[in-house]
């Protein structure tokens, strides 16, 4: 029984099969890549796993627990986190507040404590604030703590999205194009962070990427989707040589960096 397993997952939008019977399994602490041409169904699969979109068929199991029947926020509370293609940042809040919002996934004060401002709430806030600042520092964003997120460039927003998702202490973290909008230096930064996240904190990563150089260097196993179906999976070198994959990309492959 593997740590995180998806079997026969299908996602259907008004008659269009976005994802058809996809399965994958991950061991704890691994980094897997999810690649495929545009429209292959990668984000739809991730949306279904995180519960934002209903799963038409199939199952999602984390450490023996079935998750596909749960509401999205419960899936998140159980340990599945993700980032977004468009970052989904809270634009009219400061960067600090954005990141803090992720910190309550596993600990909360009660409503009356929030309203009255009791000691419990105050200490919780202090804790979460400290953790958020540490997280921002780790990403080199501490100087932006009090800046309104809406004013910032896209690459920075992606980092904030990542920091925010990490605050929720996910066991499985799905990243949707984490390096988009970044130059090579920033992308390498994010990759290093991803490795650190997996190694030091034992988070299992599933990374959607279009940047081949990045994903081939980062992931241990790569899954390839095309038109909603899994057409290949294996180590980076295996996948790069796979003719079906090359065909799906029409020769973009490793040249696409």
């Amino acid at each position: 029984m593997s740590f995180f397993m998806i079997e026969g997952a299908s996602v259907v939008f008004r008659g269009l099969r976005a994802v058809s019977s996809v399965g994958l399994s991950m061991d704890k602490g691994q980094i897997h890549g999810l690649i495929g041409p545009n429209g292959a169904g990668k984000t739809s699969l991730v949306n279904a796993i995180s519960g934002l979109v209903p799963l038409a068929a199939g199952s999602i199991v984390l450490e023996g627990r079935e998750l596909h029947h749960l509401a999205a926020h419960r899936i998140a509370a159980f340990g599945i986190g993700r980032t977004f293609q468009h970052a989904e940042i809270f634009a009219d809040r400061t960067v600090g507040e954005n990141v803090m919002t992720g910190g309550y996934a596993h600990r909360r004060s009660k409503l009356y404590q929030d309203l009255l401002g009791t000691w419990r709430k105050v200490t919780l806030e202090r804790q979460v604030r400290a953790e958020a600042e540490a997280m921002l520092a780790a990403f080199g964003l501490l100087h932006l703590r009090d800046t309104f997120a809406g004013d910032l460039p896209f690459g920075t927003l992606k980092k904030i999205d990542l920091a925010r998702a990490l605050m929720a202490r996910p066991r499985v973290l799905m990243l949707d194009e984490p390096t988009s909008g970044m130059n090579n230096v920033e992308a390498q930064d994010v990759i290093a962070s991803c490795r650190r996240i997996a190694d030091e904190f034992g988070v299992t990563l599933l990374v959607i990427e279009h940047n081949m150089r990045v994903i081939m260097g980062l992931a241990q196993i790569i899954h390839v989707l095309d038109h909603g179906e899994m057409i290949a999976e294996g180590t980076p070198s295996e996948v790069q040589k796979n003719p079906r994959v090359i065909e799906a990309y029409l020769g973009q492959g490793a040249a696409h960096a």
């Binding site: 977004f84 989904e88 309550y104 404590q113 999205d161």
Partner: protein, 327 residues
């Protein structure tokens, strides 16, 4: 610490100044203005609740006057007809209003934007009809007589004394709102307004959060309604129609959405302003509309944006003002 008030220290300072004004100024005003001051405090309470719901949690509600009405009728009925102690009847009114707020949270789970606004409008219409249809409790179209509450044995018959009784309620309401915005629940409010998807993946329960927002806002409105009844001395159902709801929305937009200080500033300024414009006689609505328009064009984010804007202008002129970008 209170950065939920918008721009850290600045809005904290604005709120402090406001509170000092609220405490110290009224005795110096003429007795007519004591009534207006009391009204302003009540509007602050209602606006604060509404701002939490709309400005922070992003849920549109046009039935706030109905929540006020429920609070007003319940409090007054319990106080004058059943003989409850007023300061117990008041939260009871708030609780009943909160119950209806709870019910209204459910349409909010499926609808957004204008659609939600229309459902809340529908609720308002239904409440108005109901008020007229049970005159045995509500006095129907003719309204209900209210009375001044007692405290420590004396009756608060003067407007000024009632003002000072309402003031701690208002301040407590402001405190709770500010505290809430700086708490997990408050962050959840702001999260669901910006991105429901991201909020859910951070383990924020959408349904629960929206309903909590409605319940709290309705409670505030119910309390405001109960106090309103006792201040005016009479409940006229006309007071709780669409335009009252819209007026409260205007308070928070002109004051500043999502900001506690904004609720207070907007409510106070827009309660006092029409009185100051009385000198214009028939033109007063025209002038009011004009002023409103000017404020909105110059300060699209509300009056709370005034101070940061001035500082920004001064900074642009070269004044050495410390500050962060984008605040």
């Amino acid at each position: 610490m209170f950065d939920s008030l918008g721009g850290a220290g600045r809005r904290h300072a604005a709120l402090t100044v406001l509170i000092v004004v609220m405490i110290a100024v009224p005795p110096w005003l003429g007795s007519y203005y004591h009534f207006i001051a009391g009204l302003a405090l009540i509007n602050v309470i209602v606006a604060t609740g509404l701002n939490l719901l709309t400005g922070n949690a992003g849920q549109i509600s046009l039935c706030h006057s109905s929540f006020m009405a429920i609070g007003a009728y319940t409090t007054t009925y319990l106080f004058t007809k059943v003989g409850f102690y007023f300061w117990l009847a008041l939260p009871a009114g708030g609780l009943l209003a909160a119950l209806f707020g709870f019910a209204l949270g459910f349409p909010a789970l499926r609808l957004r934007g204008f659609y939600l606004a229309v459902v809340t409008l529908g609720f308002l219409e239904v409440t108005q009809i109901l008020i007229e249809q049970i005159p045995s409790i509500t006095g129907g179209v003719r309204g209900m007589q209210a009375a001044r509450p007692p405290i420590f044995g004396m009756t608060l018959s003067s407007d000024l004394s009632l003002y000072y009784a309402i003031l701690p309620v208002t301040l407590f309401g402001l405190w709770c709102a500010a505290s809430l915005l700086n708490s997990p629940t408050g962050r959840a409010f702001n999260a669901i307004r910006n991105s429901e998807a991201a909020a859910q993946t951070l383990a924020i329960p959408l349904a629960r959060t929206k309903i909590i927002a409605f319940v709290i806002a309705a409670f505030y409105a119910g309390i405001g309604g109960g106090l309103f009844a006792t201040l005016v001395g009479f409940i006229d159902p006309i007071e709780f129609g669409v335009w009252t709801s819209i007026r409260h929305v205007v308070f928070i937009i002109v004051g500043g959405l999502g900001s506690v200080a904004g609720s207070a500033v907007g409510a106070i300024v827009l309660t006092v302003l029409p009185e100051l414009l009385r000198g214009f006689k028939e033109y007063n609505e025209f002038v009011f509309g004009g002023l409103l328009l000017i404020v909105l064009i110059v300060l699209p984010n509300g009056l709370v944006g005034l101070w940061p804007m001035l500082l920004g202008r001064l900074r642009a002129f070269g004044w050495p003002i410390p500050g962060k970008s984008g605040a």
